[in-house]
């Protein structure tokens, strides 16, 4: 296969499927060869998945995880985008807030779990708060850098047409930075999905993260643990693919190098 030639349409599916099949085979035989009693084989995970779907709590768990992500991520976007725009637009705001943000940013949301529990107690609010923290910083940073990277030509053209600073921000700077902001939102959504699982393992008793830890704690059901993990992966991928659809909106498409 020439690396420059376009792969045939069957190849687009064949090779990735082959990789998955190989991985499953390797997993299957590893379980047999090591004769492990704890780690499940792909077949028992598949049975576990079936069991989860038949028990109706699974849908409630998925809904709870998605709801926590929606609230935490949504709040992070509502607070983070304006803050990022202000940081990128007003050097004074940046000078004051940037050091604080730079210190808070590298702290893993996981490290906030004890603090979250002090603030909100065990429950939904603590988990949502962790999701918010995870999503907040990527959004702020992307929005701020999006603004500071807006080409001077656009700002000058905007001023030339008589826009006030507020109009310039709304009609030129924001749309010019929007592709960057969307990239930040997409990263943040990924982080939010990572964090919600971790938060649910500790702070609440529902959701996919709780399903993982509960399956282990109540009877060491590792088939259910791995089944829940796979579900988390598939839903995370679906969220990412869904979000990427936004890049195709015509007014932001120019920023993503899509062939038109």
């Amino acid at each position: 296969m020439n690396s420059l030639s376009k792969p045939a349409s069957w190849e687009k599916f064949f090779w990735p499927l082959l990789a998955v099949a190989l991985l499953l085979t390797l997993w299957h035989y590893s379980v047999i060869w090591t004769a492990t009693k704890v780690f499940p084989s792909p077949l028992s995970v598949e049975k576990g998945l079936g069991e989860l779907f038949r028990k109706h709590v699974l849908w409630a768990d998925i809904a709870d995880s998605l709801r926590r992500v929606a609230i935490g991520f949504g709040t992070a976007a509502v607070v983070g985008i304006p803050l990022g725009l202000a940081l990128g637009w007003y050097p004074a705001v940046n000078q004051v807030l940037n050091p604080v943000l730079q210190i808070l940013r590298p702290i893993s949301p996981i490290a906030w779990i004890p603090v979250a529990i002090i603030f909100f107690g065990i429950g939904d609010h603590a988990a949502v708060f962790l999701v918010f923290l995870g999503a907040f910083f990527p959004i702020v940073v992307a929005s701020a850098s999006g603004v500071s990277q807006v080409p001077a030509v656009f700002r000058r053209a905007g001023r030339n047409f008589g826009l006030s600073p507020a109009q310039l921000l709304a009609r030129v700077v924001f749309p010019a930075a929007l592709p960057q902001i969307l990239i930040g939102l997409r990263i943040a959504l990924g982080v939010a999905w990572l964090v919600v699982v971790a938060g649910e393992m500790i702070a609440v008793d529902s959701g996919l993260g709780y399903l993982v830890i509960d399956s282990r704690n109540s009877g060491k059901r590792y088939d259910l643990v791995v089944a829940a993990m796979l579900l988390i992966g598939v839903i995370g991928l679906a969220l990412d693919i869904g979000f990427r659809q936004l890049e195709k909106i015509r007014s932001v498409r120019w920023g993503f190098g899509h062939e038109s």
Binding site: R159, N160, F161, G162, V172, S251, R253
Partner: protein, 259 residues
Amino acid sequence: MGPADTTTALDAKLRAEHVGMVFDRDGKSVSVLEHINLDVRNGEFICMVGPSGCGKTTLLNVMGGFLSPTSGSVTIDREVVHGPDPRRILVFQEQGVFPWLTVEGNIGFGLSKLSAADRSERIAHYVQMMRLQGFENTYPSDLSGGMKQRLQVARALAVNPDILYLDEPFGALDSVTRLIMRGELLRIWQTERRTIIFVTHDIDEAVQLADRVVVLSSRPAKIQDVLTIDIPHPRNISSARYLEHRDDLLKKIGLAYTV
């Protein structure tokens, strides 16, 4: 300067008086413009030429109000220029159109104060004038380089400016498109009679377009010469008179290079 330049303050649309510009670069002050004196009549087509990096664009930015001169002043209609203004629009070399707006959105950008009906009428007029019909809902990423520049000119004209500043607007285009664009610009200038100040490094472009060509020296830029091109449009670019002006200008630029 010749008698053509002794315009009185009364009929000067734009007047630059002793304009000087000094930039601070790494603690050293670099003089970019020195003693620029120029009167531009209403409706005149001025080309500014000079060696690259001489400060042509800086001068245009001072005239447009994007930069404040360190000395001297620019007055338009006897009013000192203090900042950018929709009555005078600057057209950039490239990437000046807004990629998040359609052709219509770009042309209508400066028209938010108009009623919806007036706005769409104005947009339709300039779509027609700049030959962008059929592309009203197209985004700039789907337009050719020449069309993007036509769009930028359309967006500028739509707000009905008195003065159009053009900063090497066709510099990034291929030579055929550039020639077509010059024709379009002249056609618009003749129908709409705006004052045009056009920066270029292309001698032929200057002689084909301008009423007067302002020759700037190398940095710090001073006005070295002002040539009046008294050939009526359309100009025959192989006529003896055209070539004479062109050679004259080349000689002056050549002198500018041999300091």
